[in-house]
Amino acid sequence: MSDTHAQTVPFVRDTMLPSAAPPIRESGAVRWMRENLFSGPVNTILTLLGLLIVWFLIATFWDWFAHSVWNASSLNECREIITATWGDTARGACFAVIRERWNQYLFGFYPRELYWRPTMTFGLLMVALAPVLFSASLTIRRVVLAITAVVTLWAMVVLGAPVVWLAFAVLVLAGGGYLSERNITWLLPFSALYPLLGVWLLWGGSLWGPIFVLVGPALGWVAWRLLSRVSGLLATVAAILVTLVFWMVLAGDATGDAERMLSLSIESVRSDRFGGFLLSLTIGVAGIALSLPLGIVLALARQSDMFLIKSLSVIFIEFIRGVPLITLLFVASLLLNYFLPPGTSFDIILRVIIMVTIFAAAYMAEVIRGGLAALPKGQYEAADALGLDYWKAQRLIVLPQALKISIPGIVSTFIGMFKDTTLVTFVGLYDPLKSMSDAVRANIEWKGIYWEPFIFVGGIFFLICFGMSRYSMYLERRLQRDHR
């Protein structure tokens, strides 16, 4: 053994060396520049190229932006102002068109005195979404709800909302804030009721309508309770039947009668007055909200081991995903009436929402399928071993987890869908991008204006989509963290 130790020089450090400052090229701005801008010939070239691009963009567009006009009543006036202020050859943006027509881009032809209604509806949407999207972090919830409350109330006051409704909004927003501090899940009933509230606020009419829509499932539940002692299957069938029969046969008349007895209606607004971002958001949100349950059913069906169910769902999903949305919109506007009993014809917005829902549901099904697949098999086995049946296992164990995993995917689907709502222009609806701009340009004053509406509409789309995509990335990262 001794020979092996011959080379070993025992060494013991008695004083620890202090840490020295790094060499100059290893610290501060110099290091940052060296590492991040000029770390090699290729990168130096790229950095210079980047500088060139930035310079080019600024040189091309700067004066156009710098010479913006915000106050004018027509394009010609804009041009005159620009010439007068910055000289003959100057170019400039005429954002006056936005100032004059912002309301159309945002609300379409919705009655001006009722602008506060959509505003409130979308403010309350944030409250309804809180337990779903912002459930995990109290801070985010606080920030979102506080901003929502301030912005919504401010906008409602500016838009001249009646005091009663202001009070209602304050109540809901404050209540939402309070519940979110206590226990966010208590807000879920509000989220569940929100779609009806939203529809009522946007379209107006009698409150009895939504109320009787609710009565249907309530009766169905009673039927289910009564019959579930006899047989689960029978009870389920009966519950569905009772609900449907109530909706189809009784709800309409009941609404009318109730309205006559006690009028609970607000001014109704027809679908053809919807346009701009109001239309986009309505279609987008309705599409997502409706496609979620459909998507869940499709995903479960696709995971099922029953051959027929599985193949039906695969065919449906692959078919919908295989054709462009625009053809589905054409189906909505041209063909849907062929498929319904002769004489039925209903609102084109509703038809578009149906097709968009179907479209989104196919994508949603794939997203949720991913969530289902990410669940370890042990979860199913544990549920089985505890004696939970299929539906209970899905409802209590599988879906809560799978949906949570899928939220980022769902948000991405929504972003895609929200962008796609611009396609409704091709079936004659007033989307904010094309139809609305065409309508604005159809006026002599604003004929010939292009870039400003594009920038305005594009900017809003960017803010919404970028915000949401960042949020979904954040969710994704957090999921990765706490799924361990």
Partner: protein, 403 residues
């Protein structure tokens, strides 16, 4: 009871669903039949063989207003394919460049690329199509700006390409010794020269493969890999050069005659705008896919390769890319699918694709919306299925073997 037995339960359920689906299907079909009867229409594809009567601005195969609606639809389909293929190629190239650049060490350049990606991803495609189209029509000069002794605009690329607000006029290839054409019937012809070039290129490609496999065997045997790049280059180019010389191939620059440039190939702005917009939009998504794919190969892989003494370029070719591609290609193909479907937005710029012909003018002139839309959807569906089955084959082939 039957539903209580596991073996029959699912069967019962499936039978019920089957009956329901059948009933729903029957209900829809019955409604359609009754509606058709009420409107006095029939479900009949005969209209496809009647005279179309309208002109199309871009016709990859010969087409006149006297041809049938069927041929018009085929022209539309080919136009769809043209823009889709061009878009896929350009979007891939741009997307890979941007995606790799986002990983670049140059902070500024990487940030710029991030801005590019975020801007294009987060605004509707329709907006980009309209903007690019508007840029072309509003900013490019009209053809007659090229007229006169002191023209307001001048052609680029040595007087060979003219950018106008109608089209981009690019030189065509002309031959002094035209070998004639092969007639395939239905007025579809292929020039023998084209065929010769295709043969030369395909042949060259096979020879190149042979050279590479020879290099591989040499390497396997001796360890030294013969230098191949110049042989490959020669094999791929020399036959084509010879053919160019034989056919007397040359560029014919467009020139302004009458209202328009003639003599060149006028690529309409609607195609260019649609193509550019689709490219930019899809490239933003592809860039993210590429970036994620490269990042998905853990750093340990390149470190291991370096530690073995492999050079960075070999590491890229032998270790990083083969792994990254597995991650990249499936979502890449679904982007191709999206691009193909998105090309139906051609309607916004009047590009006559499948939707513009079969689902547009033909539908309008004949009033056969049911047939036209069904046919159009099926065509898109078949395209999608072809693309996605390609993806499945690929996935199955490269799947990593795990325990």
């Amino acid at each position: 009871m039957l539903v209580n037995d596991r073996r029959y339960r699912s069967l019962t359920f499936q039978v019920i669903v089957f009956i329901l689906v059948m009933a729903a299907g029957w209900w829809l079909i019955d409604n359609t039949i009754r509606n058709l009867a009420l409107m006095g229409k029939s479900f009949d594809f005969g209209f496809l063989w009647s005279r179309a009567g309208y002109d199309i601005s871009q016709t990859p195969i010969p087409y006149t207003a006297d041809d049938t609606h069927l041929r018009a639809s085929v022209v539309g389909l080919l136009n769809t394919l043209i823009v889709a293929v061009l878009g896929c190629i350009a979007a891939t190239v741009l997307g890979v460049i941007v995606g790799v650049s986002r990983l670049s060490k140059s902070w500024l350049f990487a940030r710029l690329m991030t801005v590019f990606v975020e801007i294009f991803r987060n605004m509707p495609l329709l907006l980009w199509i309209l903007i690019v189209y508007a840029i072309f029509t509003e900013i490019m000069p009209p053809p007659n700006a090229y007229r006169g002794d002191d023209p307001a605009a001048s052609m680029i690329f040595f007087d060979h390409v003219a950018l106008t607000n109608r089209y981009t006029s690019i030189p065509t290839l002309a031959m002094t010794n035209d070998p004639g054409s092969l007639d395939l019937g239905a007025r579809i012809t292929f020039n023998w020269a084209t065929i010769a070039f295709v043969v030369a290129l395909v042949g060259g490609w096979f020879i190149r493969r042979a050279i590479l496999s020879h290099a591989q065997t040499m390497q396997d045997r001796t360890g030294d890999r013969p230098v191949t790049w110049w042989k490959n280059l020669a094999v791929m180019t020399v036959p084509s050069l010879v053919l160019i010389w034989v056919f007397g191939l040359h560029f014919e620059a467009p020139s302004l005659q009458g209202f328009n440039f003639t003599g060149g190939l006028n690529v309409s702005n609607s195609l260019v705008a649609l193509w550019l917009a689709l490219t930019l939009y899809t490239a933003a998504f592809i860039a993210e896919i590429v970036r994620a794919g490269i990042l998905s190969v853990s750093r340990g892989q390149s470190e291991a390769a370096f530690a073995l003494g492999l050079r960075p370029n070999r590491t890229m070719n032998l270790v990083i890319l083969p792994q990254a591609l597995r991650v990249i290609i499936p979502p890449l193909i679904s982007q191709y699918l999206n691009l193909t479907k998105n090309s139906s937005l051609a309607i916004a710029v009047g590009y006559m694709d499948l939707r513009g012909t079969l689902g547009g003018t033909t539908l309008n002139q004949t009033g056969r919306e049911l047939e036209a839309i069904v046919l159009m959807m099926l065509t898109y569906l078949v395209l999608s299925l072809i693309i996605s089955s390609g993806m499945n084959v690929f996935n199955a082939r490269v799947k990593l073997k795990e325990r």
